[in-house]
């Protein structure tokens, strides 16, 4: 038997337009917590999904307990003792806790000729594993009645019930309070003492340095290295993650914020758990960063302003004129543009061409006689934008889904530029984009501000916010908790406001 419980060697995984993993590797020792680090889009989650059998890797091998194995799917992984707690939980809220733990592998019993689910055994076993994760709850209760952190514990209980030897935790603390994080760490420590190998994915440096034994760093789908966690510094990790000096990450900015043009007052969602009483102002030519933890309702607030979500109260004014926004069309007509967080789900029109994707929001401008589209004008628009934003594409007829993430994002920016809006809301504009293309996106954002556009930028990358914003607005649990000047902002003062729970 080798010294490793599980090894992933030379893993390659390609998605249309992106090489997500390029000879990545990971070596897990028994009874350790192994931190997996890298920027968004570095390939951490993809690598874990390969280990858990959700993705099939194009190349590479997995050696588990000294044997080469092929993991066919999540159930196969669970049967082998590999369990994963996903970043986005996948609960079945209408079923009981016990059923959620045992879904897909219910204990059974024979009743005459029939095989049925053994509910009694299921709930007894569930009670035992719930105790192990310190969750005092009736296993017969509906899962939907639990909080997010409790649901996460149920997921861990699921892993424990499978008697797992490898447990993957993908950003487990992103929506937890400080007390809940402590409780989670206690459980992680107990599992480690039992000999479980834990893969711990997180962006929070202090957590990593506190809980992990080893650290593996990835960048752009590639393996950078593995180090003993003792003696590592935050600076060292960031340099390895980013791959170059921090000072060159962001373009110089020459925008000069002018007078206040865009104003939001007391904006409140119809959902009491979402954004409430949000008030802020954006100046002409200003980049306003928006910081907050997952669950801070930043996206929800911005989607509310753009008319994608309903609000129950609040005023939006642009240059002193009140705007009525109940659907995106009204926001667009008022001169607001929005790049949504999830490019695939709410941004690109995948099976359509680049030309269609660029022109869809501004078709009214290219009409002949009020009803017929002028293909020549549209082609001209696309060609201008492809040149201006240096979009790398074979032709304007190419389907957008075959482009890389960065180029897709540029196409979406072109879509809005065609409308010449005054306010840009950018929700995680560089998510899933490789490092080189990120810089180009930053240049575009800086240029927009220089031209006098007001830019609102949500980002979960602290360094990006600090490097790009004139001012940073911080949110916590649906409320705006404060503003920090871009020059004075640092990780500490942002986190202090971002964790100001009521």
């Amino acid at each position: 038997m080798s010294e490793y419980r599980l090894e992933m060697r030379d893993v390659v995984k390609t998605f249309p337009g992106v090489k997500a993993l390029n000879h990545a590797q990971l070596k897990l020792r028994p009874g350790t917590v192994h931190a997996l680090m890298g920027e968004n889009g570095a390939g951490k989650s993809t690598l874990m999904k390969c280990m858990f059998g959700i993705y099939h890797m194009d190349e590479g091998e997995v050696v588990y307990e000294g044997q080469k194995v092929q993991i066919k799917g999540p159930l196969d992984a669970l049967n082998r003792g590999i369990a994963m707690v996903h970043q986005e939980l996948q609960p079945i809220p209408e079923r009981s806790i016990g059923e959620n733990i045992y879904v897909g592998r219910y204990p059974t019993k024979r009743v005459g000729p029939f095989v049925t689910v053994d509910h009694e055994k299921m709930y007894q076993d569930a009670a035992v594993v719930l105790k192990e994760v310190h969750l005092n709850y009736d296993p017969k209760a509906k899962l939907g009645t639990l909080s997010v952190s409790q649901m996460q514990l149920v997921e861990i209980a699921k892993a424990v019930s499978a008697d797992c030897k490898v447990l993957i935790l993908d950003e487990p603390t992103s929506s937890l309070t400080a007390a809940e994080v402590e409780a989670l760490f206690t459980i992680v420590n107990e599992l480690r003492q039992k000999g479980v190998s834990i893969v711990y994915i997180s962006h929070k440096m202090d957590e990593i340095l506190r809980i992990s034994d080893e650290v593996t760093i990835m960048r752009d789908g590639q393996y950078i290295g593995t180090w003993d966690a003792k003696g590592l510094t935050t600076d060292f990790i960031i340099t390895k993650m980013v791959g170059r000096e921090l000072s060159n990450l962001y373009p110089p900015r020459s925008n000069v914020p002018g007078e206040v043009v865009f104003e939001v007052e007391d904006f409140t969602s119809i959902n009491p758990k979402s954004f409430r009483h949000a008030s802020f102002q954006v100046r002409k030519g200003e980049i306003l960063g928006v910081a907050g933890l997952v669950g801070a309702q930043r996206t929800e607030l911005m989607e509310g302003l753009f008319g994608l979500r309903c609000h129950s109260a609040g005023r939006i004014t642009y240059k002193g004129k009140e705007l009525k926004i109940n659907q995106p069309k009204q926001a667009i007509d008022s001169g607001i543009a929005m790049l949504t967080e999830d490019r695939r789900a709410t941004g690109i029109l995948g099976v359509l061409s680049i030309a269609d994707n660029v022109s869809i929001a501004s078709l009214n401008q290219y009409l002949i006689g009020g009803f017929m589209l002028d293909d020549g004008k549209i082609e001209q628009l696309v060609r201008d934008n492809v040149a201006k934003l240096s979009i790398k594409t074979p032709s304007s007829k190419t389907l957008i889904q075959s482009l890389s993430g960065g180029n897709q994002q540029k196409v979406l920016i072109s879509r809005w530029l065609a409308n010449n809006p005054d306010v840009f809301i950018l929700d995680e504009p560089t998510r899933g984009i490789d490092v080189g293309a990120k810089y180009e996106i930053y240049c575009i954002i800086a240029e927009l501000a220089k031209q006098g556009k007001s830019v609102i930028m949500i980002s979960s990358e602290m360094s990006e916010l600090i490097g790009m914003s004139d001012r940073i607005m911080v949110m916590c649990d649906g409320r705006v908790t404060g503003f920090i000047d871009g020059k004075e902002a640092n990780q500490e003062n942002i986190m202090a406001l971002a964790t100001q729970f009521e």
């Binding site: 249309p16 753009f306 994608l308 659907q327 995106p328 069309k329 667009i332 007509d333 929005m338 949504t340 789900a345 709410t346 941004g347 690109i348 029109l349 995948g350 099976v351 359509l352 269609d356 022109s359 869809i360 929001a361 078709l363 009214n364 009409l367 009803f371 017929m372 589209l373 293909d375 074979p394 032709s395 007829k397 190419t398 879509r415």
Partner: protein, 331 residues
């Protein structure tokens, strides 16, 4: 520039993407050799006449399919349209007129009236799908039954006949060598080409099919577009029903039975994806033609009509399976 090299892979892709079309064309060539009259002009004219109303119906359904919907009420709407047209256009001297008070109206007026009446059903379909968010499959299945019931009520389940000759002539006549039916189909085809490729409505339709949420974010009025699509579909069913009635020389509650499935099959064979966002008018035409060629081939091979249904059903399933395979491969 795009890569145009011919490799084994591109040939393989072409074959699997067009498998059904190729198979059925091979069948046609085979039948051409074994049967005598297959390549005769009369058979060709028969093909064109059969294709025309079906192409119009398929054009209607295509918009629903491109936006990831469907319209199972298509066939029954065609039937109701045929019955409505029949009731308006029976000869004044025909003894068993369904509506004895009906004045003698010219057929274009009747066509317009039928279209206007059928718009209501399309608007209801569209509103139920766009606003009440009922899945199109269920909404139009319900509408299918409603329309059938209405058709039974207004006709009293009696078949309608005794059309005036000007109405029958719409289907039977020809302009030189071109049957009037084909002219209707060509006009619809040209209109659809224009609508799908040159108008905002077309672009919005493809956008909604490609990604409804993204279309909404881009400012597309999704409900309005969907309602327009279902209303247009009903207009086309009305035209098709009008022609089907004229062609058959009679109409009854059984008219149009199963036409929706033929139309959906033709669209799918012609490359309209059930995954949404993809589909061309030219493809629909090919799909309709291939499906009709299949039927004619089976007739010429003297296959029992009962078996013909089995063959058609299989073709529908295989066509959709092949279509979805293209998307599965990408995961």
């Amino acid at each position: 520039m795009e890569n145009r090299k011919i490799t084994t892979k591109t040939v393989k892709n072409f074959l699997s993407n067009n498998a059904i079309i190729i198979l059925i064309l091979c069948l046609a060539i085979f039948v051409g050799f074994v049967a005598d009259n297959f390549w005769k002009p009369a058979n060709f004219k028969n093909l064109i006449i059969n294709m025309s109303p079906r192409f119009i119906i398929a054009c209607g359904v295509s918009g629903c399919l491109i936006t990831k919907g469907t319209d199972l009420s298509a066939g029954r709407q065609v039937g109701l349209s045929a019955c409505l047209a029949a009731m308006m256009l029976q000869s004044v001297d025909y003894a068993a007129r369904a509506l004895p008070w009906m004045p003698d109206i010219p057929w274009p007026v009747a066509l317009v009236l039928v279209v206007l009446i059928m718009c209501v059903f399309g608007a209801i379909n569209g509103c139920v799908i766009a606003f009440l968010k009922v899945p199109p499959f269920i909404a139009t299945l319900g509408m299918q039954t409603i329309v059938y019931g209405l058709c039974s009520v207004i006709t009293g389940n009696d078949p309608l006949g005794g059309f005036k000759s000007s109405y029958s002539q719409v289907a039977l006549g020809a302009l030189g060598p071109i049957p009037y039916l084909a002219i209707f189909a060509v006009l619809v085809g040209v209109y659809m080409l224009f609508l799908y490729n040159k108008t905002r409505h077309g672009k919005y339709m493809y956008a909604i099919g490609g990604n409804e949420n993204a279309a909404q974010v881009a400012g597309v009025n999704v409900p309005a577009t969907i309602i327009r699509i279902y209303v247009l579909a009903s207009i086309l069913y009305a035209v098709a029903g009008f022609l089907v009635g004229a062609k058959a020389g009679g109409a009854s509650t059984a008219t149009g039975l199963g036409y929706e499935l033929e139309a959906i099959a033709a669209c799918t064979i012609g490359g309209v994806s059930t995954n949404g966002g993809v589909g061309k008018v030219g493809g629909i035409l090919i799909g309709v033609m291939v499906f009709e060629v299949l039927k004619i081939c089976l007739q010429f091979l003297r296959v029992d009509p009962a078996y013909t249904f089995i063959a058609q059903g299989l073709v529908i399933i295989v066509a959709v399976a092949l279509d979805l395979r293209k998307y599965l491969a990408k995961k």
